[in-house]
């Protein structure tokens, strides 16, 4: 058997999502963004939503998300994606509207917009990449940075007396009546990716069914910002991040 025998459509188990553009991403090798982008692109395509999806890109590493997934996009000001999504969703209720935000964008500068959009129960999906660091600006402390974790702006480790505590924003969002589904996922193993895809699909179904706001947090790696190899970052995430941000559904309301 040679490679030509193997490369046949019937043997295909995975392919590049049809909704991916030809652009080469700017993400660092090993970063979680790429896998999450793939899940987003696959689900929009598989669920037949290409023609009625509008994504809201954040400020942060995913600022160029609009270059990679071939649907309509609006690039928001830092933290404002849930407000932008609110208007687009309300003005075009037949559209599927999602935001794609990092921890700085969503839980620091955009905390108010996030909480209030979720509290209004906007029929959107908030995709939340939590890697506990500001990746794009060079590895500064985020609200979700773990205690003791070293970043460019807490070079000796985050201290609760100086910097306060890691913010479990998804736990807060799960408390709100406007959210129907809040879940915490990861994409560091094939099994986790499969589970995460199911969770994201459920969130999208919620938005289409107008059940309220769904939040899918992806506990993620930033191996560049963490100054680790991708494999080390995955291990470190499983050991430290999951302790503070355990995976699983925080809320799943079916009505």
């Amino acid at each position: 058997m040679n490679t030509q025998d193997i490369i046949k459509p019937e043997n295909l188990v995975a392919s590049r999502p049809r909704l991916f553009t030809d652009a080469i991403t700017h993400y660092c090798p090993g970063c979680s963004h790429g896998v999450v982008h793939r899940l987003v692109a696959e689900l929009i395509d598989e669920m037949g939503l290409t023609d009625r999806t509008v994504g809201i890109a954040p400020v942060g590493c995913a600022v160029f998300a609009y270059n990679y997934i071939d649907v309509d996009w609006v690039e928001a000001a830092h933290g404002r994606a849930p407000a932008v999504a609110t208007a687009i969703s309300r003005l075009n209720p037949e559209n599927f509207v999602f935001t794609y935000q990092g921890d700085g964008d969503l839980s620091a500068i955009g905390c108010a917009e996030t909480i209030h959009a979720a509290n209004r129960g906007e029929n959107i999906v908030i995709i939340f990449i939590n890697n506990a660091i500001y990746g794009m600006t060079g590895g500064q402390m985020a609200p979700t940075t773990l205690l003791g974790m070293k970043t460019a702006t807490c070079p000796y480790g985050r201290r609760e007396d100086l910097n306060g505590y890691p913010l479990p924003i998804s736990n807060l969002l799960a408390q709100l009546d406007g959210t129907c589904y809040v879940t915490r996922q990861a994409v560091h193993t094939p099994a986790a990716v499969r589970t995460a895809k199911k969770a994201l699909k459920h969130a999208i179904e919620n938005a289409l069914a107008k059940r309220g706001t769904s939040v899918v947090e992806f506990v993620s790696t930033c191996n560049s910002g963490w100054k680790m190899t991708p494999a080390q970052a995955n291990d470190w995430m499983a050991e430290h991040m999951f302790a503070k941000y355990p995976l699983g559904d925080l809320k799943n309301r079916q009505d």
Binding site: T50, D51, R52, T53, V54, I56, A57, V63, Y66, D70, V71, D72, W73, V74, E75, A76, A77, R80, A83, V84, A85, T86, A87, I88, R90, L91, N92, N95, A112, E113, H116
Partner: protein, 356 residues
Amino acid sequence: MKGNEAIAHAAIRYGFDGYFGYPITPQSEVLETLEAEMPWETTGMVVLQAESEVAAINMVYGGAAAGKAVMTSSSSPGVSLKQEGISYIAAAELPALIVNVMRGGPGLGTIQPSQADYFQATKGGGHGDYHLIVLSPATVQEMADFVGLGMDLAFKYRTPAMILADGIVGQMMEKIVLPPFRPRRTDEEVRRQCPWAATGRHGRDHRNVITSLEMDSPKMEENNLRFQRTYAEIEANEVRFQEYFTDDAEYLIVAFGSVARICLKAIEDAREKGCKIGMLRPITLWPFPKKEIERLSAQVKGILTVELNAGQMIEDVRLAAHDAVPVFHFGRMGGVIPNPNEITDALLSHFPDAKA
């Protein structure tokens, strides 16, 4: 009705798709009237009280990005909060309408009328090189009329427009004729009118992306040059103003908004005593009626600007007049409104020869 109420009614009748606001005195009646009218039951217009002015302007950004006719209103401290979003709207070349019913500042200031946001409205306000089309209503009728005019201009040039009103015209009650009802555009009409909008692809063979980001400096410069070409076109085509008694005027008052009406009373009184005073009222504060002031500065012996601020528009008047004649400023601040006699006295103190 009140000026603020006129804004709300005119917005529904124009066929606005969305209003996003946050309460602040002296403009809260805009949001209150819209909520009471419930246009979502009639025209389908979305009305939403946001959690902040920051959120409200970013909702406007989102709605405008989707090609919808959207607006917000606020008053001075709230409009300061909106500057981030306004800069993004201008940079993304989106049409939108922003209403500022000015109150006295700086800071929390006062809830009384002011015109102290002239610089902010006409010189950029937020970061970067951009301009708003700025309309200055002097009457409740103009409050209503400029809602449609402002949004039409915003669509025409794909740039945000602002109604720069003040607490007087916002709170004042006058009889007006409301514009006729127009149906909201259908989604198909929106897609046809705004082929650039993030509506969802709906069969389009490419994605639409609304962004103000461009990392390649030469391309970003090209974007800026395109903005400037739009602004030059607006300056060439959209200057609006009104002249009063300028035919034989020897002295000129330049005033905008509600204060122009107080000035008009002062001029009428002075003319009864034989003082040949005229007035130019800029209706568009940007683009500013430079040529008209230049023309009149060749005719008159002196100019007085009257503003509810420390002297802001006077800078544009002096630039337009090229210092051909002396230009002075009279203003009250902090929410104080001058009476006509004060204005006449100020003019005569600077120009004693104006006395008949």
